[in-house]
Amino acid sequence: MTTPDTPPYAPASEAEVSALVRDAAARNRPLSTIGNGTKQHHGPAATGDMTVMTLSRLNQITADEPGDMVVSAQAGARLGDVQRLLAERGQCLPLDPPYENATVGGILATNSSGPRRLGYGTAKDMLLGLRVCGSDGIITRSGGRVVKNVTGYDLHKLHIGAFGSLGVVLEATFKVRPRPEVSAAFVVGCADLAAAHALLLDVWGSALRPVALEALAGGAVAHLRVTLPGLPDSPALAIVGYEGSRLAFERHQRDLDAVFARQQGHVILDGAPAGALWRAFRDGPSRDLVIARLGARPHDLPGLLGDAGAEGIVIQVGNGIARVSLAPTGPSVGATIRAWHQRAASKGGYAVVESAPLNAAARATLPWGFPGAALTAAVKASWDKLGIFNPGRMAI
């Protein structure tokens, strides 16, 4: 086997990944793993002099037996390609994270998800098994290809959201679902974010079973209007995503009509227009702004946001997640987010920076995460003894 000699290396097989890792370990040289590089601005940047390895050539869908309702794909496979294959047989992987070119490995490493996580959960809820290259170049496996499995420890769960700091993810197996008969969204104009938030909390508490509840204001609303000009003209939007049968959709329509009556008009997107809306969400997050993520109990979130004074905001109501965009030029971005964190932490929540432009000043000093507990340091030291995997890429 020959190793390409001009970085970034693009291994085309698991064996080549293994060889690169062994080589890096032998030279004690850090290795930065990337998929398609869509989320380089997420998390602190990897630091120091290192070898870059892209997994974009490990992009095969490796196993798919439609009747078993699972799919396996290599880390560099684009989620979009996986979805296209599944769509042909009436199935989908119910994960709708940002960025069109995002790869399976990158999505797992950053624990990315999108609006419909309310209905379907996040990567951890559908990941069944993983193959990973360790810091000794040895490839190990956990989990399997069946939908229920308690054989051995769920090592794969630790790689979710780990920014590649514990190993190189090579191949993942997911459980998939039947594609819904209807995919639709109700978009309601609201006077302000608080009204949208309150309305969606009510929907969350009702008998209805939406797959997404998103409250938006500011730049986030403007962004959606670019692709969907017919949306209500209001400062804030409340969006109820629905997926399921036509009959239950009609029920949602009836119940929601009453709820929406007091608001500033609404539209229903059914089928292709709903697809366009979800794509707009996917392409929405700005690369030019700092995006902070706040997490709290769903009903605590409105009180914690206060007067966020942001460029834009997107709240996943029912999940208790808010993403707030801030101008990177502001002097006190870090201080603002730290203050939110103080407040949120008193209720068990948190606030961190999720992404920031790569050239933002003081990027490295932003609050990306918290020093982990003893377990964090111990698992990192055990699985990546030399510290070669993506050093600095995760705040731990």
Binding site: V146, I160, N319, G320
Partner: protein, 504 residues
Amino acid sequence: MKQRATQPALPPPDSQLSDMATASMPAVTGDAAGLLADLPGILPADRLLMSRDDLFAYDCDAQTLDRALPLAVAFPETTAEVSALVKACVRRHIPFVPRGAGTGLSGGAVAVGALAISTARMNQIFELDIPNRQAWVGPGVVNTHLTRAVAKFGLHYAPDPSSQNACTIGGNVAENSGGPHTLKYGVTTNHILGLQAVLADGTVAQMGGVAADAPGYDFTSAFVGSEGTFGIATKVLVRLTPNPEGVKTVLGIFNTVNDACHGVTEILRRGILPAAIELIDQTTLRAVEAYIHAGFPLDAGAVLLVEVDGLHDDLQQQADFVVEACRTANVRDVRLARDDAERAKLWKGRKQAFGALGRLAPNYYTHDGVIPRTKLPEVLAEIERIGQRHDVVIANVFHAGDGNLHPVVLYDEREAGVLDRVRAAGDAILTLVLGVGGALSGEHGIGFEKIGYMDRVFSPDDLAQMRRLRDIFNPLGLCNPGKVIPAPGRCVEPGSTRKLPIGH
């Protein structure tokens, strides 16, 4: 035949352990007398069991092939007490084993010469947060008690093992338990948001919490399913699930198991996701009917119990899809439960199936492999042949929608030579399951019971990586030793049981 690399510890007196379990148990080398002397300083006497007679009630879980007396049983009420007990064990170098209700089916709670730490008195519900659909509960809370506590708010705790009237949330967390409704709602790990645990050195660790997507490694999800080898969960933050507005239960009656299996694949092909698809074969149906008269037909080869749930608006349509799918699979008769009473009866029949089978034979042994769902017909046919070949009766009652088999081998241990046949049949079943790309266990865990098979599923490297994680949580190996991951080089041919007289 694999060779044992290390001499295993001798089984302690009063124990009956498979060779597998014996081989994987490290020798207990600590100061047992010292620990026994320490215990009364940690807990009052009425929360300790130390006399031989009392200990017999704690010598096994619901998988009775592996038995051993614990050194003592302790009943802490608080995290601090658990921590003090663990620290005492560490000081005396004596192993300890968390224990919930003892309904486990893989020997996970068997404490060989160890202190059993029971969570029976840690059964408080600390906080019900109804608006946010979360609850902090003690590990000893019984699964259905939690659901009952939130029923008046229209919520429930979704994972519903058939043992849910007895098993505890702590045991569910340790085993990552499932149940009939996990087809739609997921297993335990999908419903645990965080936990507090006493780790194997007695320190208290917090994992996860009330807010989603917190940055950092997801230790909560690693802890769930670790079978009591990572520490003792002392508080668990669970997600509560809103009750569906409506439910319909379909009973599909088939002439053969094969037809019923095809019914499962047909249902799943139709683009709906029922809440549950359970298969019950004739042997089990007859046992259930004799026991509780649930209303199952005695002459059916198998039935499918299928539940659809959700908004009222499309329930009938979902049920119609199921009926249609069953028809395509040559169903003999298919009908909807008339009302809640009939529905409850059918489900009672399903949930008590193991109890009913227990009346057919003095002993039974349940396997728990999971197979890709398209393989159901061929695998079930082969299981029947395995029963014939080894001259044992095998009943099947299982989570068919997930492909999670439960072949139940019925036997009478007093019959000479029967254990060998039971084991041979079991070995053949597991070999079959692994051969079609399946998993050893879908919900019952590895424990002692299947540890000898782990090297057929995972490479030495895979197992080494798992051991590295366990050693972080449990560096001295005192927390539930000998379970889940075999010690390196300690392989035994699975199967034989060393039986010593109990209470000699």
